[in-house]
């Protein structure tokens, strides 16, 4: 029997790793990869709370599925933006994208 | 409990008694028995795989008016054995710039992704790996590993042709996955379950789904051929353009694993076609004698495999753009139309009895086909008119 704290700590660690990746990676695609880690951390929590709460109430699983949809949408739009910027500026390094300064 | 009517459970219980008699923990004994069962199942699959090498070579020879293997054993039946020995003792070269770990992992994952499928395939009424309640999605999930192995092989070989072949193949696989998954929803709607065992049992008690959804079976077969990367959809190995596709750099047993995976995959898809639409192991006396069910299952799977081979050796390869257009502009809309019609008609006729339900569903399929054909006809007429006008203008 696993107490819920195990899942919560694991997901906190995964979330932190993802957050670190988002903050430090220079490549925009790597930033998106790290966001996926954070979304997965959220999903672990949602499913764990479904399992350790009232399993008849499916809210946790439904939310997890919605997170899947959001993750897919985020990847689709995010990668398309990266690709579009790459074609115009020939770079995927986030630091070099300083369009707003112009 | 009798061995002939329920072999797996009989063996399971006698083994359980033996192991716990030796003083083993119950859970541990269960795991050991599971592993033994899995090994037997996988060995069975691999024996079929080895026989398939002979079937494939013999049948292609007959299609092309040749004799095929006929030296070793009766009708060349033992030909696969030297084939395997040859693969094992061949030198295995690795390109110098390859990404070694990924390169070696790819063929293992490729065969593994096919073997995973055998966990859920029901071989007979009570002979199956596991009755998973999300088996249909599990089937799609194993396909994800197959796609992954192709990308890994193509990328890690560090070869232009391999990479191009891998991307062509992956584009085809992911495109044709959509109509396949949509067609999978049809048995799910009818039975209200995603378990292969429930689907087969339902067909045993009522009717084969081939009768209520012939179009679904056809769409499944077409998208299965594309998933397998077999002709007419074998773009990954257009010899004149990209040599041999994603496994161009592989040699020896690593190539053998890709090859074995491809064969077994085709057979397994034949089996899944039979499970989903042709009653799986269902046949005369199959419920009383499970081993007869295994025979029926293998016969039906072999028939599906033969259909795939028939198409492969008859139809020439089509161009990649045509292939993707065929999927997105024809197969996907048709499969969604079929899904919508099935979802609309099924609840209406569900309680009406089989004598109304089956013809009703069949007619709804016919309706979808008819509308599709009409739409295609009007479109091609328009295209032809445009082309003729252009030609007439050019003449003047």
């Amino acid at each position: 029997m696993i107490p819920i704290s195990w899942y919560l700590f694991l997901s906190a660690v995964l979330f932190s790793i993802g957050l670190f990746g988002v903050l430090v990676r220079r490549n925009a695609i790597a930033i998106l990869l790290s966001i996926e880690l954070m979304l997965n951390a959220v999903n672990i929590n949602l499913v764990a709370f479904w399992r350790y709460g009232n399993t008849v109430n499916m809210a946790g699983q439904v939310f997890a599925i919605i997170v899947f949809a959001v993750a897919a949408a985020e990847v689709a739009v995010g990668l398309s933006l990266v690709y579009s910027i790459y074609r115009r500026r020939n770079t995927v390094i986030a630091d070099e994208l300083d369009l707003m300064k112009w | 409990m009798n061995f002939w009517s329920d072999p797996i459970n009989t063996i399971y219980e006698s083994l359980m008694l033996t192991f716990t008699g030796w003083g083993l923990d119950g859970a541990l004994a269960q795991i050991i028995i599971y592993v033994l069962g899995i090994l037997i199942l996988i060995t069975f699959a691999m024996i079929i795989d080895i026989l398939l090498v002979w079937v494939e070579r013999k049948v292609v020879a007959r299609f092309q008016g040749r004799l095929g293997p006929n030296r070793i054993g009766p009708f060349g039946l033992f030909q696969p054995i030297p084939d395997v020995i040859k693969l094992i003792i061949k030198e295995d070269t690795t390109p110098a710039n390859a990404d070694k770990l990924v390169y070696n992992l790819a063929p293992v994952l490729s065969l593994g992704s096919v073997l995973f499928l055998w966990a859920i395939v029901p071989l007979a009424i009570n002979i199956y790996g596991v009755d998973l309640n999300v088996a249909l999605l599990y089937m799609v999930a194993t396909g994800a590993f197959g796609t992954l192995s192709i990308i890994m092989a193509g990328w890690s070989s560090n070869n232009k042709y391999a990479l191009l072949g891998a991307f062509r193949q992956v584009a085809a696989m992911i495109s044709f996955e959509i109509p396949m998954v949509v067609v999978l929803l049809i048995p799910a709607i009818i039975t209200g379950s995603l378990s292969m065992q429930t689907i087969t049992n339902f067909q045993t008690e009522n009717f084969w789904f081939f009768l209520v959804s012939p179009l679904g079976a056809l769409l499944f077969l077409i998208s299965a051929i594309a998933e397998l990367g077999r002709s007419p959809f074998d773009l990954n190995e257009g010899e004149s353009e990209i040599v041999s596709g994603y496994h161009i750099e592989y040699s020896g047993m690593k190539f053998g694993l890709f090859y074995a995976g491809e064969m077994l995959h085709a057979f397994t898809f034949g089996g899944l076609l039979s499970v989903l639409f042709f009653g799986g192991w269902h046949g005369p006396w199959s419920s009383e004698i499970p081993f007869l069910g295994v025979v029926y299952f293998c016969a039906k799977a072999l028939f599906g495999y033969w259909l795939i081979m028939w198409v492969k050796y008859t139809v020439p390869r089509i161009r990649i753009d045509h292939m993707l257009m065929f999927n997105w502009k024809f197969l996907t809309p048709v499969s969604f139309a079929l899904l919508i019609v099935t979802a609309l008609v099924h609840p209406l006729l569900r309680d009406a009895g089989n004598w109304i339900y089956v013809p009703g569903m069949f007619l709804s399929n016919v309706l979808v086909v008819w509308v599709t054909v009409e739409v295609l006809r009007s479109r091609s007429k328009k295209d032809r008119t445009v082309a003729e006008t252009v030609q007439a203008v050019a003449h003047h």
Binding site: I4, F15, I29 | -
Partner: protein, 169 residues
């Protein structure tokens, strides 16, 4: 230490070590492959949590689609991805500090909560989570609105991303 706990520890080791590799890999294809291994670990966790449907969906959606998308995108923009320079930006020590502080804050918040030792509830015999998930998704007094909105979200993502990716100049 029972078998479920061992399995949990194994999969959490897989998740965390692969996640560290995702963040630190120089080669983006390797990072994407490590992401796949992380996601597979999460799928194992879902199976342990008896959310079988989600475990399979995790593989279908994340490994079968999202990870493949990443690899495609890396291939499309590959002039940059094998660069030899530093993969992290200059302010990484601050980021590390920030992350440690946030992790500590989350940890201390969790330690204050008194439900940390909750054990899983018994799931009734013959309970089909796929069917009840379906019922929850489509019944009007549950989640039918998110269900339909999800399709609008996916539509918006499809149109937006295809438009952005195809837009020439």
């Amino acid at each position: 230490m029972d078998s479920t706990q061992l399995l949990f520890l194994f999969s959490s080791f897989l998740i965390v070590s692969s996640a560290v590799n995702v963040v630190s890999s120089k080669n983006l294809i390797h990072a994407a492959l490590w992401l796949i291994s992380t996601l597979f670990g999460v799928a194992i966790l879902f199976a342990i949590l008896e959310a079988g449907f989600l475990a399979v969906v995790q593989v279908v959606v994340y490994i079968g689609a999202i990870a493949i998308m990443f690899i495609f995108a890396v291939m499309l923009t590959r002039r940059e991805n094998l660069e030899s320079g530093s993969q992290v930006n200059k302010s990484w020590p601050f980021a590390l500090l920030l992350v440690v502080v946030i992790a500590a804050a989350i940890g201390s918040l969790m330690l204050k909560w008194d439900g940390m030792n909750t054990l899983p509830v018994q799931i009734a015999e013959g309970y089909d989570s796929v069917a009840s998930l379906g019922a929850a998704l489509i019944s009007p007094d549950a989640f039918v609105l998110p269900f339909e909105v999800a399709s609008v979200l996916l539509l918006a993502a499809l149109l937006g991303s295809v438009y952005v990716a195809m837009n020439k100049k």
